[in-house]
C-alpha cells in the first residue's frame, strides 16, 4: 500500500471517529486508545497503535467533554499520532523517534481539532437556523437535513484535518537536516504521572486519594510477586 493510500484511509478513519466524538453515537470509539488501536490495524502495527493510543489516553484521562466546554479532538489525535508513527517507521525511522514524533504531533493535532470543533459548532448555528425556518412552515424536513449536515460536516472536517496534518508533518519530518535519534521514548515517565495528577486534581474526597494509594500498593505487591 502506498503512503498516499494509507493517508487517505487514515483520514477516512479520523473522519468517522470524529463523528463518534461529538456529533453522534458517542460510543467512545473516539477515545485515543480505541482510535489508536484502529489506526494501528490500518498501518499494520497494532502494538504501535496501543503504545501511542494508551499514552494519549493517559494525557487526556481527566478531560471532561461537558456542554460548551472546549476539549481536544482525541479521535483526530489518536489517528494522526499512530498514522504518523507508522509512516515514519515504514520510511525506516528509529522506533523511539517515530513514537515521539507521533505523540508530539498528535498532541498538537488535538489542540487544532479543538479549534475545529468550535468552527463546526458555529456552522451548526446555520443548519439549526435552516431547520427553524422550515419548521416555521410546518416542514420537519429541515430538521432531518440539519442533522445530516451536522454529521457530514463533522466527518469532512475530521478527515481533511487528519489528511492535511499527516501529509504535512510526514513530509516535514522527512526533510529534517539531521538524522533522527535512536533510543527509547520514555512515555510512562511523564504520561502516567500526568494521568495520576489529573485524577488526583479531580478527586473530590480523601477517600479517592486513599483508593489511588491502595491501587498503587496493590499493583506493586502483585507485580513484585510475578
Amino acid at each position: 500500500m502506498s503512503d498516499g493510500t494509507l493517508v487517505l484511509l487514515l483520514a477516512l478513519l479520523a473522519g468517522a471517529l470524529s463523528v463518534d466524538g461529538t456529533a453522534a453515537l458517542q460510543l467512545m470509539f473516539s477515545q485515543p486508545l480505541v482510535a489508536g488501536s484502529l489506526a494501528g490495524l490500518v498501518v499494520g502495527d497494532p502494538i504501535l497503535g496501543l503504545t501511542v493510543g494508551a499514552t494519549l489516553q493517559l494525557v487526556w484521562i481527566a478531560v471532561l467533554p461537558v456542554g460548551a466546554a472546549a476539549f481536544p479532538d482525541a479521535a483526530l489525535a489518536g489517528v494522526v499520532g499512530v498514522g504518523l508513527a507508522g509512516l515514519l517507521s515504514r520510511a525506516g525511522a528509529p522506533a523511539g523517534w517515530s513514537v515521539a514524533a507521533g505523540i508530539i504531533v498528535a498532541l498538537v493535532s488535538g489542540a487544532i481539532g479543538q479549534r475545529a470543533i468550535a468552527v463546526v459548532r458555529r456552522l451548526n448555528v446555520r443548519y439549526a437556523a435552516y431547520a427553524a425556518q422550515r419548521a416555521g412552515l410546518g416542514d420537519p424536513g429541515g430538521v432531518r437535513v440539519a442533522v445530516a449536515l451536522g454529521i457530514a460536516t463533522r466527518f469532512v472536517v475530521g478527515a481533511i484535518l487528519a489528511g492535511a496534518i499527516l501529509g504535512v508533518s510526514f513530509v516535514a519530518l522527512q526533510a529534517l537536516p539531521f538524522a533522527p535519534p535512536a533510543g527509547t521514548f520514555p512515555t510512562a515517565l511523564w504520561a502516567v504521572p500526568l494521568a495520576a495528577a489529573g485524577i488526583a486534581a479531580a478527586a473530590r474526597t480523601k477517600t479517592e486519594w486513599l483508593f489511588m494509594g491502595a491501587g498503587l500498593v496493590f499493583g506493586v505487591i502483585v507485580l513484585a510477586g510475578r
Binding site: 497494532p46 493510543g53 432531518r144 533510543g183 483508593f211 491501587g215
Partner: protein, 265 residues
C-alpha cells in the same frame, strides 16, 4: 447533583394520558433509542441540543399525523433551547414522546416545563457518572490492559463503558415512556450518587494500579525514574489545579521525554 424529587414535574402522573389512544410499542421505543444517539449532531452555542431533540421526537409528529399549524407548533416547541447529558436525555425524550402522543403536554406539564426542569439535574447526574467517573475508569482499565501487553485493550474500554452506557439509554427511554417525568426520580436519588462514588473510587484504584504497572514495565522502579515521575506528578497536579490544559502539560512532558531520549542515545 440534586437528589430531591421536587424538580420533577408531574411526579404523581404517568405522563401518558388517554387523549389519542396512541402508544409507543417496542419499535417506537427502538426508534427513540437510536435517534437519541444523534442528539448532539447539530450541537451549537445557541440552542445546543435543540435540533437533535426535535429529531429524536419526530416520529411522534408522523404518528399523530400533524400538519399545518399543528405541525409548526410541534416543531417550534421542540426546537427550543435544550441541553443536558446526552445519555440522561433519554429519560426526557421518552417522557416527552409518550406525553406528546397523547396531547401537547406531558403529565399535565407543558413540554417546555418538563425539559427545563429535568435537563439541569439530569445533566449534572449524567456528567458526574458517565463523563466524570465511568469514562476515566474505562480509559484507565483499557490502558492497564494495554500495559499488561494484551491487544484487546480497546475492546475492554468499549465494553466497560458501553454496557452501562447503552443500558442506561435503553432504561431511560423505557422508563420515560412508562412513567413520564417521574422516571427521572430513579437517577436523581441517593442510590445513583452512591454509584458515582463507587465508580470514582474504582477509577482512583485503577489509576494506582496503572502507575505500578507502568513503572514495572518501563524500568523496574529505578530510583531516578521514581524521582523524575514524582516531580512531574507535582508539576502536573499544580498545573491541573491552576487550570492549565492537559494538552499543554502533555506537550511539555513529551518534549522532556524526547530530550531524555536524545541525551540517552
Amino acid at each position: 447533583m440534586r437528589d430531591d424529587a421536587s424538580v420533577i414535574p408531574g411526579s404523581e402522573s404517568r405522563g401518558v394520558g388517554t387523549g389519542t389512544g396512541l402508544t409507543l410499542g417496542a419499535g417506537g421505543k427502538l426508534g427513540l433509542f437510536w435517534r437519541s444517539l444523534l442528539l448532539q449532531s447539530v450541537w451549537n452555542p445557541r440552542g445546543m441540543q435543540h435540533v437533535g431533540f426535535c429529531f429524536a421526537v419526530l416520529p411522534v409528529l408522523r404518528r399523530r399525523r400533524l400538519d399545518g399549524d399543528a405541525a409548526k407548533a410541534f416543531l417550534e416547541r421542540h426546537l427550543e433551547f435544550f441541553n443536558t447529558n446526552p445519555t440522561m436525555a433519554t429519560y426526557i425524550i421518552g417522557a416527552v414522546a409518550a406525553g406528546e402522543l397523547e396531547a401537547d403536554e406531558v403529565g399535565g406539564e407543558t413540554v417546555a416545563d418538563v425539559k427545563k426542569s429535568l435537563s439541569g439535574p439530569l445533566g449534572m447526574a449524567g456528567d458526574a457518572l458517565l463523563w466524570g467517573s465511568l469514562r476515566p475508569l474505562a480509559g484507565l482499565a483499557g490502558v492497564m490492559v494495554a500495559l499488561l501487553g494484551h491487544a484487546w485493550a480497546a475492546v475492554a474500554l468499549l465494553v466497560l463503558y458501553n454496557v452501562p452506557h447503552l443500558s442506561l439509554r435503553a432504561r431511560g427511554i423505557a422508563a420515560g415512556v412508562a412513567l413520564g417525568p417521574a422516571a427521572a426520580r430513579e437517577v436523581l436519588g441517593p442510590r445513583f450518587k452512591k454509584a458515582v462514588r463507587v465508580c470514582r473510587a474504582a477509577g482512583a484504584f485503577t489509576a494506582g494500579i496503572v502507575l505500578a504497572v507502568a513503572f514495572r514495565g518501563s524500568g523496574d522502579f529505578e530510583p531516578w525514574r521514581l524521582v523524575a515521575s514524582g516531580g512531574f506528578f507535582a508539576l502536573a497536579y499544580a498545573a491541573a489545579r491552576l487550570g492549565i490544559p492537559a494538552t499543554v502539560v502533555g506537550l511539555a512532558g513529551a518534549v522532556g521525554g524526547l530530550v531524555l531520549m536524545v541525551h540517552g542515545s
